[in-house]
């Protein structure tokens, strides 16, 4: 720790190796292949897999904007040296908007509220038609992505502009932009979750749903950020800039969000269990039956108990190998969480998981890693002229 801080601070330039580019291309090819084959054989299933992967990586990209905005809004000093790496995640956002447009083709296969005949015959669905309808869905989608892209462009663009100008006023103005973004994000991400995920079961509702997915977003973003840092540190690109102390604090945030997710998930479950109303319990019951039981238990243990215990000791947050393993595990559990939310709506009796889910996830993963690594190779890895950088360079965690 002391030795690491004593190393001369030196930020390197990241270069994406040809091998990595090949891997990303293969992943993307797998995704396209899975999509094409699936559209012929089992379109509904493929759009479900698409929905999960799309939501998963859009959340990570938004998590990047959110985390950067959070640091500006709180005028945080410690996190300056890792902020650029979270900004890298936002580079996927334009592709997420494209993926959302593609998803519109498949949406009628998934959402029964898009079926006019069904809605007309169902008093509950026709009562919700003003919100859950094709027009309002697309309007919200365009609005959300438009505003998200705007803020991502401002937050990341100004931050990069500061690298060359060193203008302090940029930091002041980003503070105001960030507060505006956070307010919009709180509402828009909740509704985004409702539109895309909760509406697969349009008769059911939960008012805590948006917060539930936000907890998962924050947790997964921290896990991914930690992996990016460990990967770049291994190549000696962040020497002296991002130390064990930064990892320790990010590990604490990962731990905190693990607890926060459990808190929100339990709040949702307990209220449904306590009130015992049929319109609410119909979400829980299929997930507590048959082969969905092991999936639900794995979610509880894997997303809360395992990372909770694994991150509890101090050394756990300061040991790169351990932290990397926990982060990968958390990212896998984030996928399981989305799977658990969506799939029981279509497969009531037993989980289905196979090549479609794997290939389409691989495709999105390839695209995501491609955009993030391209961003990292084109920009400084650290906002080198941020006025608060000295706070981050001397960041020291006593406990």
């Amino acid at each position: 720790m002391a030795n690491e801080n004593a190393k001369p601070a030196q930020v390197g330039r990241y270069v994406v190796s040809t091998e990595l580019k090949t891997v990303f291309s293969i992943l993307m090819f797998l995704g396209v292949a899975g999509l094409v084959v699936g559209l012929i054989h089992d379109p509904q299933r493929v759009w479900m897999a698409y929905l999960l992967a799309f939501f998963y990586f859009t959340s990570l990209a938004l998590g990047g904007v959110f985390f950067a905005a959070l640091q500006h809004a709180t005028k945080a000093g410690w996190s300056v040296n890792v902020r650029r790496l979270t900004e890298a995640l936002t580079s996927f956002l334009p592709f997420a908007a494209l993926a959302a447009a593609v998803f519109l083709i498949g949406a009628p296969k998934l959402y029964e509220w898009l079926d006019k005949a069904k809605v007309a015959a169902d008093p509950i669905l026709s009562g919700k038609a003003a919100y859950l309808g094709a027009t309002s869905f697309v309007v919200r989608l365009v609005l959300f992505f438009g505003v998200w892209l705007y803020f991502a462009k401002v937050l990341v663009g100004k931050s990069i502009a500061q690298d060359s100008s060193g203008d302090e006023n940029i930091t002041h103005s980003l503070n105001r932009y960030s507060i505006a973004f956070l307010m919009f994000f709180a509402i828009s991400y909740s509704l985004f979750a409702v539109d895309f995920l909760m509406s697969v079961e349009p008769h059911w509702y939960s008012t805590i749903y948006g917060v539930y997915l936000f907890a998962g977003l924050f947790q997964a973003t921290m896990a991914f950020l930690i992996l990016v840092i460990l990967y770049l540190k291994k190549q000696n690109l962040l020497n002296g800039y991002v130390t064990e102390d930064h990892l320790h604090d990010l590990g604490k945030l990962l731990f905190a969000m693990t607890v926060f997710w459990a808190y929100i998930a339990f709040s949702q479950y307990m209220l449904i269990w306590y009130a015992n109303l049929p319109e609410e319990t119909k979400f829980i019951i299929p997930r507590c039956e048959g082969l969905w039981i092991p999936v639900s238990l794995l979610l509880l243990i894997g997303k809360f108990v395992v990372p909770f215990i694994a991150l509890l000791p101090r050394w756990a947050k300061r040991t790169p190998v351990h932290l990397a393993a926990v982060s990968i595990w958390v990212l896998a559990m984030q996928y399981l969480d989305l799977y658990w939310l969506v799939y029981p709506a279509y497969f009531k009796h037993a989980p289905r998981f196979g090549l479609y889910e794997v290939t389409i996830f691989a495709g999105f993963l390839g695209l995501f890693l491609f955009t993030v690594s391209r961003f990292l190779s084109r920009n400084n890895l650290v906002p080198i002229k941020d006025p608060r950088i000295h706070e981050s360079l001397h960041h020291h965690v006593t406990y």
Partner: protein, 183 residues
């Protein structure tokens, strides 16, 4: 009456240890002196400062506190107590049927169990912090009143080393003042 108060006071008063104090007027000098004192082989000594100083714990090589382990064990005990207590109150001692649910329904009691964990964990942490630090102190010996405003001191109790040698050491580390006192 006055006699009684004096008597009580002398009973509860925090007694200091005899030892040597060195006084510096600059915090960087204090950190440096603390490092040298530790390197001279003196293990147990105190640093006194009007405000927290960055790096002093590393200079003195203060080991990590063991309070987190106390917190962990207390939290686990609180959790166990919560599980037992909710079971005993609602399923054994006074069973009440609520909403047709089982007598001992875990989901309903998780908030209680959680609160017990936090409550007992937190109270034990604070209490053990006070006990381990020997707090609260009643009218403890004061080395120098200026140590609360602009001076810094190191204090080595007699048990930690030869007094005359330590006086020599402190002088060689640039102490503005070295005196034999109680702390």
């Amino acid at each position: 009456m006055a006699d009684l108060i004096t008597k009580i006071e002398s009973l509860v008063r925090t007694r200091g240890q005899k030892g040597v104090a060195g006084i510096w007027t600059d915090e960087h000098e204090l950190v440096e002196a603390a490092r040298k004192t530790r390197e001279a082989g003196i293990k147990k000594f105190e640093a006194i400062s009007p405000y927290p100083i960055h790096g002093i714990d590393e200079a003195m090589k203060i080991p990590r506190s063991y309070i987190p382990y106390i917190t962990f064990i207390a939290g686990l005990s609180g959790c166990t107590f919560g599980v037992w207590f909710t079971w005993w109150t609602s399923a054994v001692d006074w069973p009440l049927l609520i909403g047709g649910k089982p007598m001992w329904s875990l989901p309903a009691f998780i908030p209680v169990i959680f609160e017990c964990t936090i409550l007992i964990g937190a109270l034990t942490t604070v209490a053990s912090m006070l006990v381990i630090n020997g707090l609260p102190k009643v009218d403890p010996p004061v080395i120098d009143p200026d140590l609360t405003s602009h001076k810094f001191a190191l204090f080595v109790p007699e048990s930690s080393g030869d007094t005359a040698k330590i006086e020599q050491l402190f002088k060689s580390f640039g102490a503005k003042d070295v005196r034999r006192t109680e702390f």
